[in-house]
Every structure is written in structure tokens, then in C-alpha cells.
Symmetry: C3
Subunit: 319 residues, 3 copies
């Protein structure tokens, strides 16, 4: 596709590179479509993408997002061409540009889902593909729009609304593309307050702080766990991403600066809150809290990832 | 699944981690189901797993077992999410636990087939998966139950029975999980005698010798090829597995201690015997014997691997 | 299959190892079948390989050929068992021979599409497979027959004929298997003239020059770009393949000896010519020429690759 188009309720064949393409109506439409698909009979669902072929072009390791998209496509009757780590196994080794690779795969498939290690790669891929849509499955420390959409869908399903929510975003807010996309998503709704908790050197980029200073979403940095308001609707914890650090000593210092423990939840939480995490986790959530019914990071949140991608693919590619 | 359940003729949705879960009736039921599927029309067969999605989660290289399961699923109309070597290409790189990976993939798929490099990993995975079955496709030097089942199915098809058989197990009997699972399987039948032929430092673990001392299967260690009784029904040769050795000098010493040659078969064999091997082989079977009709390691045994996995998947997941 | 059979209009279940197996009638039949499939309704097309399972056994990196075959099979309703880089992820690590690997996969699938890094491997694989066909997807600096067939199909579609064409073959003519297969293909037609343009140390092997000295295809070596006749029907540019060089200094010297630029096309080309390349390119085509309508390397040529493989698979495996 040649330009990054706003979705404006018309998903058909469009690239999905950034949450910035969505308005509130588009997000609502996606959620409605997702719920509609979940109510369909299996045999009807297996017809939605019948005969469609999607390339999963993963230049960076990702079992979770790869599996989620693969399942979403196949659960709707489509098939995939699988590419994992093409930096090692493909034309990239031979020195081909990203643009050429994309142009080749658009001749084979009806859409490309791409994970890449460089920020901006998704936009470049969308520009290169002239005839078929490109869906961003994460580009470096850039965006990961379907993660934000699944988080939004999960909150909507569990809490009945996105307007007026109060939540905590904790962990790596500097490089964490998940968090960046999620803030953008909340900005489409009204009266959301997000408490930001991070190590000093992993604070939300100044640029984003400024951008949302006069927006629908109120961003409040808090210095320690003790400053978490007791009435939050959700806590959204994230991993400090080792692969984004050049100096591993810096990583070691901050990796478990904030740990989600049963004690912390008891001290600063409430009984209706949700505990979320985009996964994988590497120590920042104490496993004792996994069995708490408020913990939904290993079940509902993951399941909703597959569901919302089914909804998105159906809107973009389906009949 | 929370516990390792005995199969007891009810496969539906159960984990398959060890041959120890099977009783004789379950094995017979599996074999009968497999034969029934083989008689079906292709179009009927392609409906058995229609709409089912199975994750092939392979943490260790294995072209054969991966291909066999992939084919078995697709031959019944199901689809797969493919993971090969996720140690290099997935969340495992980011430090995720096996348990978390399993919990994620159970949200996407209807079953998980797992190959792992650590003994006990299959049980851990089965414990972690709460809603869908886990099938062990080999865990380190632990078990490889479907290999034993395919070997048993092959013997049953070719010889008409498993009771009363006499056979040789040769090669690496210490680390060879194939052999361990196979002995367990024979123990469900009556009056089986197995002659054990291995380098001294690769003898069957003492624990297994003791466990089967007063069982249905009689284990007889023999020092050399010359001690093989002439009236065996089958010879089951195995590879000395390089990847299980820490000291490669030890490996070099024993890797071709016993070689299956036409001369040996002539000297110690008989005209109705079967020559079997779980593959891959790396020198322990002389290729001159490949064309001997008694050699079934490259054809019937491999084909039956796919067949018996079709039977198993149908019993666990099918309609 | 035990011998390398001439195709002679009967593709059914035959190995495809070399263009030498084809006669003119076989090539025409393949092109006709391909065109017939393109005119079918999608639902009819999705039935052609329904229930068929093809192993994609790729021992060498190749995103393009892998994706093209994967798409061709799935666009006809078949499924694949995927193997990429099995040198690292499979039985090959454990020391298994190519022959054994092939014999195993022929028990699982209805055909094997193989890419290998050694010249002659495709013939070895075809010899090893007793019951199912092997299709060569490139073996070292040997052959890559489906590339030649797609190039031929593209020229036939765009120019209406293959007889009497004049074209340039430029780049690595020594190791370039694409070029070798293409010359063999042209030899099945009449009165073709090919101008050969390459660095001195990458000239077409003497053996091929001799073989085609008195054939249907006239080979004319030209020393520089300035010697390209103005009335060529097509220019076929190729990459100098880094992976074939032992001495990387030699590679650096020649890699961009000939570059296809808008200026060169203006100076030595004409308005009806086609600009082709088997891809990937790494600098030997100036990107400014991508948007020229005569450039078909990133669109028609790639698309035709998938199409002609659909035709071939249908003739070999289809109902």
C-alpha cells in the first residue's frame, strides 16, 4: 500500500502499521467483529479466510506473536507461508533489501504479517507492498499495534468499557513498544489515567509525555510502587527487554527493579483489578500470583490476542 | 492436564507422556483404531481432525519425528503451528520458562506435541497445560512413547502378535529412550524375551534391569554378537547418540562397536526375522542390507510411525 | 524414482531434476496447463491437490523459492511439511545420509521439493526415492529447472513465442545455475541467439559453450555492455553469488562489474524489450529502473514462478 491510511471503519485490504491509524469507531468495529466471530459455528468460521494465504515474515524471534497469528489465520480456514528468522535462512543473507523481499512475497500471498528488529521497518514494508496489506507484528522499539488492540479488547471484555479507566504501566517504558501503542490506543477513549512506574533510565520518552500532555489520557509518573493508587482497574506490567540494551551491565541493574508480588498486590491493589503482562516475563512477576483469579496474563489476555487478530484479519481479508 | 493419567482405553484429551500410562487394552485399542483409519476413504480420513490445530513445539532438532507428526495431523485434515528449535527462535531466548511457553500455546491450539532436550520436560509440560493434551515426542534421555508404539504396531502387523516374541535390542541401551520405552511396552504383553547387546559403558540402567526382573519381559544381557540366539523374531538396532556424550573420545570408542552386516545376519539370523532401527543411523547398519526384504527400518517402520500417530491423534482429539 | 526419465509429455509422478528431461512438447504442455489453471475458478483450483502433502526439504537458505513452492502447493489445496536449513535442525546434524533422509520423507509425503547446496544432490535424491517424485529446487551450482521454466513461461506470455528470440545473459555465467538451465531450455526452441556478458573469470563453462556450439541456440560472448545489440527481446541479468566464492576478495572485484542502469537501457535497449532477473539482486540493478514498465523482475517474473510451479505440480501430482 502506498500510504499509511487512517482506518476510519474501512479495514478492507489496508495496511496496519500503527495504532495512530485507528479512530474510536474503528476500534469499536474491530471489537464487535471479533465478538461476532466468536459466536459463529466452527464450520462457518473455517470459511471466512478459506483460500487465503498469509506470509508470516518474522525477521526477529517471536514464538508468541508468530503462534498467535498462525492460529488466528488457520482458525478462520486460511493458510500461511512461514518465515522465521529470515536473517539466517533466506534472501536477506544474500543481501536483499527489505523492499525487494516484500515485493516478492506480495506475489505469493494475500497479506504479509511482519515482525522486524528495526523501528520503522513496518512502514517501509507497507510502502513497498503495492497490492496487498502489511500488518505490523512489532518493529524494533517502534510499534506493536495488535498487542495494544488485544489489551484493549481484554479490558473491554473484562471491565465493560475503556472510558474512565485508571491503570498502572510498569517496567520498561522507554523501549517497550507495547506500552507506546497502548497509550496511543487509550487516547482514543475518554478520561483515562495511567500511572507510569519505571526505572529512571527507562522512563517513557519525553516526546510521548509531551504529545499526550493535553490529550484524553492523563499520564502520571510515580516514583515507587508505594505510590500506586489503590483504586486502579488494572496493572500492566512489562519485561525489561534485554535485547534492546547495548550495555548488559545496565540491563542487570534494572531488570528486576519492580517485581509484581502477592504482597504488593495485597498492599496496593483491590479485589476487582486485573493483572496484565504482554509476555514473555523473565522474573518481574512472582509465579505465586499466577493462580490469583485477577491474573489474566497467561490465559484471557493470550486467548484474546488470537481472537482480536482473527477479527482484524477478517476485516482486512475476509469475505 | 494436571495429572499423568493411565489411559485405560479412554484417550480423549489425555496427555501421553510415558508408556507407563498404557495398559494392554489401550495399546490394542490404539492399534485397532490405526488399522480402521487406514481402511477409510481419503475424504473421510481428511475429516477426522478437520478444524483442529496442533502445535509442534520442537526444542531439539528432529526432522523425522517432526515430519511424522506433521504428516499424521495433515493426513487427517488438521493443521499445525510449527516450532522448530525454539531455543534459538523464540521466547525461550528471552528467558521464558517452559511452563509459560506451554500455557501460551494452549491458548492457541488443541494439542501440543513436544520434543525437548531435557528428561522430565514432557511431564512438566503436561502439568503446565491445564486444558489441552501434551504428547511427548521425546524428552532428553527420558521417554519417546510414540516410537515404542510404532515399533509395537510394526511387530504386530508383521508378526501377528506381541506375546511370546524373542528379540535383540542392540546399541546404546543406557541413554536410548527408544529402547526404554519399548521394554516398558513389551511388559504389557506375555512371555517376551529380549537379548540386550551393548558396549559395557552403555548397558541398560541397573534400575530398569531390576524393575523388569520379575516381569512379563525377560531381559538377558549377552556379551557379543555371537551370543545372539538364532531363532529371534526381530533385531532392533540403535544408534549410539553422540549428543548424549560429554566426552567425545568416549563416543568415538563405542560408536560402531556393533555393526549390523549381511554377514552377521547370515551367521546369527533366520529367514523370517525383522531388522529394525528407530533411525537416524550413522554407520551401525551396513547399507548392503537395505535391500534385504527383512530390513524394514527405511520403509514399513517409518510408515507405521505416521500411521500409529494418526491413530493416537484421532483417539485423543478426533470426533 | 530409479532413473532420470525424459518427460515426453507424461509428467505423472516423474522426478524433475534437469531441464534435459524436457522436450519441446513437454514444455508446451506445461505452459498450456499453467494457463488452464489460471483460468479456473478459485474453488475448483483449491481441489486440484486436495489431500496431497509435499515435503519442502530446504538444506540451503532460500526464501523466494521456498515461498513460491509453498504458495503454489497451497493455492491448489495441498499442504506442506516444512524443512528449512535442515543442516542445522534435523537428522543431518546426527550424521544421516541424504539418501536416508529422502527415504524417510517419502513415507510421509506425496512428493519432495528439495533445495540442496551440492551439485548432483537432486539426482541422488531422485535415485533414493523409490515411490514418490523429487523436484529439484536448485542443487548447488548444478541446475534449477523450475527457474528456467518460469523464465520461459514469462517470455512466452509476454512475447508470444520462444522461437527466434534474441537476448542478453549477464553476470555470473560460471556458477549461475539459473543461466545454465535457461540455455538448455532455449535449445528446445529454434533460432535463439543469446549474448553472453560476464567478468572474465565468470564466463560460461567451456563445456557448455562446446555443447551448444552446433545447436538451436547461438551463444555469442560479448566483451562489454557497449557490444549489446540494440534489438534484443530481453536482458536477463544475474547476481554474482557470494556463496559460491572461496576467496571473498575475488568476489569483491567482480560483484558489480556490470550494472543495469537506466542510462545503459537508454543507450543499448529498445522500447519493447523485457528486463529480467532471477532475484535476489544485490546491487547489479539500479533501483531507478524498477518503475520502468519493461522491468518485470519484481512482479510478472515472480508471479509466473508461482504459476508455473502450480502447473508442474498439477501435472505431476494432480488428479
Amino acid at each position: 500500500m502506498n500510504e499509511l491510511l487512517p482506518i476510519k471503519n474501512i479495514f478492507n485490504n489496508k495496511d496496519v502499521v500503527s495504532i495512530d491509524q485507528f479512530d474510536r469507531a474503528s476500534v469499536e468495529k474491530l471489537f464487535t467483529t471479533t465478538r461476532r466471530i466468536l459466536k459463529m459455528s466452527p464450520s462457518r468460521r473455517l470459511n471466512l479466510l478459506k483460500g487465503k494465504l498469509v506470509t508470516l515474515l518474522f525477521f526477529e524471534p517471536s514464538s508468541r506473536t508468530f503462534g498467535s497469528f498462525s492460529a488466528a489465520i488457520k482458525r478462520l480456514g486460511g493458510l500461511t507461508i512461514d518465515y522465521q528468522n529470515p536473517t539466517e535462512t533466506s534472501s536477506a543473507v544474500k543481501g536483499e533489501t527489505l523492499e525487494d523481499t516484500i515485493k516478492v512475497f506480495e506475489n505469493y500471498s494475500d497479506a504479509i504479517v511482519m515482525r522486524h528488529y528495526e523501528m520503522g521497518a513496518a512502514k517501509r514494508a507497507a510502502d513497498a507492498a503495492l497490492f496487498i496489506p502489511v500488518i505490523n507484528a512489532g518493529d524494533g522499539s517502534g510499534e506493536h499495534p495488535t498487542q495494544a488492540l488485544l489489551d484493549g479488547f481484554t479490558l473491554r471484555q473484562e471491565l465493560g468499557k475503556l472510558d474512565g479507566l485508571k491503570g498502572v504501566l510498569a517496567g520498561d517504558l522507554l523501549y517497550g513498544r507495547t506500552v507506546h501503542s497502548l497509550i496511543r490506543l487509550f487516547n482514543l477513549f475518554n478520561n483515562v489515567t495511567l500511572y507510569l512506574l519505571s526505572p529512571k533510565n527507562l522512563r517513557l520518552p519525553e516526546e510521548l509525555m509531551k504529545r499526550f500532555a493535553k490529550s484524553n489520557v492523563k499520564l502520571v509518573e510515580i516514583p515507587t510502587e508505594k505510590d500506586i493508587p489503590r483504586d486502579c482497574d488494572f496493572w500492566y506490567w512489562t519485561r525489561v527487554q534485554k535485547e534492546r540494551f547495548k550495555d548488559l551491565k545496565e540491563y542487570e541493574k534494572v531488570k528486576t527493579r519492580f517485581i509484581l508480588t502477592p504482597e504488593l498486590v495485597k498492599e496496593r491493589g483491590n479485589k476487582n483489578m486485573l493483572l496484565m503482562h504482554p509476555l514473555p516475563r523473565v522474573g518481574e512477576i512472582d509465579e505465586r500470583i499466577d493462580s490469583d483469579p485477577r491474573s489474566i496474563y497467561l490465559n484471557k489476555q493470550v486467548k484474546n490476542g488470537m481472537y482480536v487478530r482473527m477479527g482484524l484479519l477478517q476485516l482486512i481479508l475476509g469475505k
